[in-house]
Assembly symmetry: C2
Homo-oligomer: 200 residues x 2
DNA sequence: TTGACAAGTGACCTGCCGTTCACTATAATA
DNA sequence: TATTATAGTGAACGGCAGGTCACTTGTCAA
């Protein structure tokens, strides 16, 4: 085994932390899953907590480069159907991407004891999505696709129901299909209520 | 110390489990908080897991008797203002009642490893509130307070944003006031969008 | 060829975990 | 008063947790 051991430790730690939590994970199991012995871990990290901090650094950095900069904002859709399609693309990605799912789970489990996890959880679960949709809705209002209203309020009203269904999928993955159907139904409902043209 | 020790153990367990999780809680601290020594716990419960199961039994029973029966459904409001007032009453209760807050937190922390916690979490966070508002909105539509639409979809669209803000309060209690203001603003927005009469 | 270094090992340490058990104190019951 | 059940105690348990360390191995540069 080569130089990527540090990466593999982080990957496995994310897996185990997201399933059993930080306190419920031990170094023996973690390293054994990599075909190593627990003392080997200390060649790469100073402690268990060090792994946790490195993981959080990663998550924070990843979130920042992915959603932090304005140029990363998605393009404003050109039609109601394009808006629904974009929603479904995002939902599918965020529900099926193992990395993202594990990140959400670990933030869920550690949000009450770690301040950085707490802050990142709020971004992931609430403000991040809302800000993104605020931008999109402002654009759609300019294009005449949505009735004029407070884009931030609409974004909040749109992002949080979807977020609730994403959490449901994290909790009960067997309900994923049902949740995706519900997301689409809600998206269509939303367009029906807030849209300007009543096509399809 | 008397016969209510069992109750006090359960109460303290809920406190500690909701803060540090099941794995992050130990019997020594738990009993010490009650002025007892750890071995005393075993006069009341067979094991740590036994405490956990008893706690879950309680939570499930409490939820059932509180929200399970149809006669426990709240009355349908008679005006938009009454609806908003009811929402704020509910929100204040659920955000400030320590017992309820701890229940939500513990379900959040254990939802991925315990099947009963998983099921109860979905009820608490999603289906319970949604069903309640489905009933309320159906009644409000009958009374002509809401435009005719699918009450279940409206309930989902109303309950989940509020639920998201409740979770925010659990995570960052210092944002409680802001969250309550946001809930009221959202509630007014909702009435503006879905209501039939446009009075304040 | 040698030396230095990075990666991995296994034995060992300390400390805490949940749990058991023989015991005591108390208070109600017979 | 003697008996019995209940609640609480403290010492001890085996086990496993995170962590340290002297050591081996492999790689590569000097």
């Amino acid at each position: 085994m080569a130089k990527d051991t540090k990466e593999r430790i982080l990957a496995t730690a994310l897996e185990m932390f997201s399933q059993n939590g930080y306190a419920g994970t031990n170094i023996r199991e973690l390293t054994a899953a990599l075909g190593l012995v627990k003392s080997s871990m200390y060649k790469h990290f100073a402690s268990k907590e060090d792994i946790w901090n490195a993981l959080l650094d990663r998550m924070i950095a990843y979130y920042g480069e992915r959603f932090g900069s304005p140029e990363r904002l998605p393009p404003v859709p050109d039609s109601p159907e394009a808006f629904i399609a974009m929603t479904m693309r995002m939902a599918n990605l965020t529900i099926h991407d193992a990395q993202i799912v594990m990140t959400r789970k670990v933030l869920t489990l550690e949000q009450f004891r770690d301040d950085r996890a707490r802050a990142l959880a709020t971004k992931h679960f609430l403000t991040g999505l809302t800000e993104m949709f605020t931008h999109i809705f402002a654009g759609m209002m300019e294009k005449g696709l949505l009735r004029r209203d407070d884009p931030a309020m609409l974004a909040f009203a749109y992002a949080t129901p979807i977020s609730a269904l994403i959490h449901l999928c994290d909790r009960e993955p067997e309900k994923t299909d049902e949740a995706l159907r519900q997301i689409e139904a809600f998206s269509r409902h939303f367009i029906r209520v807030y849209g300007t043209t009543e096509n399809a």
